[in-house]
């Protein structure tokens, strides 16, 4: 059983980034991005790439 006694740290909002075609060459399944990018970071990458938010 996991230790449920400790307060959980809230997870950052996760952004799906499979729509960033440029990044797919490096991360075919984008799993790493999905778990690492916050919504804010995702928005900034989208801005840097000039991609409109879907």
């Amino acid at each position: 059983m996991p230790d449920e006694s400790k307060p959980k740290r809230p997870l950052p909002p996760v952004a799906a980034v499979t729509w960033i075609p440029h990044l797919t060459y490096a991360t075919p399944d984008n799993d790493e991005f999905k778990t690492e990018l916050t919504e804010d970071e995702s928005d900034k990458i989208r801005e840097a790439l000039g991609i409109d938010k879907a």
Partner: protein, 343 residues
């Protein structure tokens, strides 16, 4: 620059600016008369220092014409190979005066540790190096077991017919066998106007033409270059000696590792790596009314050069880069980790 974060894989050494050719619009302005080079002892030391950069996988020896270094070049190949680096080179093939000479040169280079060679030709190169030598050199390189490529320069109106290469029986057989690749590359104007011919390209070659896909620059921060003046530069593109912003410091008085550690990471380099120069200029165009994109640019490096020389673009990008830096850093981190693992 944190070397646990920035993970260059390739070190390109512009060993010399001397060349047997003097191609019009040569990216580095190389000629037989130029003699500036990385001193022999410094080349040796740089190869040794490359070991201190954990992510480096390959060392690429270029010029000018690096085979003018003669047997010394083989010594550098051997040293780099002994240290575990993949050893690559680019040459115009002048040394392949006949099949026997070509075989001897490639066999020696292979024995020293060379693994991959790219031979350059096209209208500009062929004015100085007969195409027959490029063919003989490529055949010999394949026979020696080297990963071999022939790179043909092209531009609008070029008189060079690539079939002089591709239709040659021996070349065609090697290509069919998967032992040789032939590629075309756009020959572009020298960054500082050191060229005579007016180079024109078809409008559909523009980097901003409809349907052209834009991608991040895969060489900036991944392929570092050392010039004969011992400048360390953050990329290996053709205007590498003409964009001061990409310089990472002098290696005249410090080691490779020291230069990298002491130089702060430029957020624009991160942005280039993740987004590429075309998207960065489109970013500018979206914020500056009537911004004139360099529609004549047919090579990403031309776009990058424009970006670095346009004060309006630089101002817009530098104003926004700090806010995007952390996110771009994360994207770079994932890309470079993945690429390193795959290499």
């Amino acid at each position: 620059m944190n070397l646990a974060f920035v993970r260059p894989r390739v070190l390109t050494l512009i060993t010399t600016h001397q060349c047997t050719a003097a191609c019009d619009h040569c990216c580095f302005g190389c000629t037989p008369r130029r003699t500036d080079r990385i001193p022999r002892e410094r080349l040796t030391a740089l190869i040794d220092e490359a070991r201190t950069i954990p992510s480096l996988r390959a060392i690429s020896f270029v010029g000018g014409e690096c085979f003018l270094l003669g047997k010394e070049l083989d010594e550098h190949f051997a040293r780099a190979a002994a240290l575990g680096f993949e050893v690559r080179t680019t040459t115009n093939g002048y040394w392949a005066v006949n099949a026997r000479a070509a075989e001897r040169r490639m066999t020696d280079a292979r024995a020293a540790g060379l693994r991959a060679v790219s031979l350059s030709t096209g209208e500009m190169h062929a004015a100085y190096v007969p195409v027959e030598r490029v063919i003989a050199g490529a055949v010999a390189a394949c026979a020696a077991g080297l990963e071999t490529n022939i790179s043909i320069e092209t531009f609008g109106g070029t008189t060079f017919d690539p079939r002089r290469i591709t239709a040659h029986a021996a070349i065609a057989a090697l290509v069919d066998a998967g032992r040789l690749s032939v590629s075309m590359r756009d020959w572009v104007a020298h960054a500082d106007g050191n060229g005579v011919a007016t180079l024109r390209h078809s409008p559909d070659r523009s980097r901003f033409a409809a349907g052209v896909e834009h991608a991040g620059c895969q060489i900036v921060l991944d392929d570092l270059t050392v010039t004969p003046q011992l400048d360390l530069v953050a990329c290996c593109g053709y205007p590498v000696e003409s964009i001061p912003e990409l310089r990472l410091g002098s290696l005249a008085t410090q080691t490779l590792g020291e230069a990298l550690e002491r130089t702060p990471l430029d957020p624009l380099a991160l942005w280039l790596h993740v987004a590429g120069p075309e998207r960065m200029l489109l970013f500018v165009a979206g914020r500056v009314a009537d911004y004139a994109l360099p529609l004549d640019a047919v090579h990403p490096c031309e776009v990058c050069l424009h970006l670095h020389r346009d004060p309006v673009a630089l101002r817009v990008l530098r104003d926004r880069a700090p806010a995007l830096g952390d996110a771009l850093g994360k994207a770079y981190d994932v890309i470079s980790k993945h690429r390193l693992a795959a290499s």
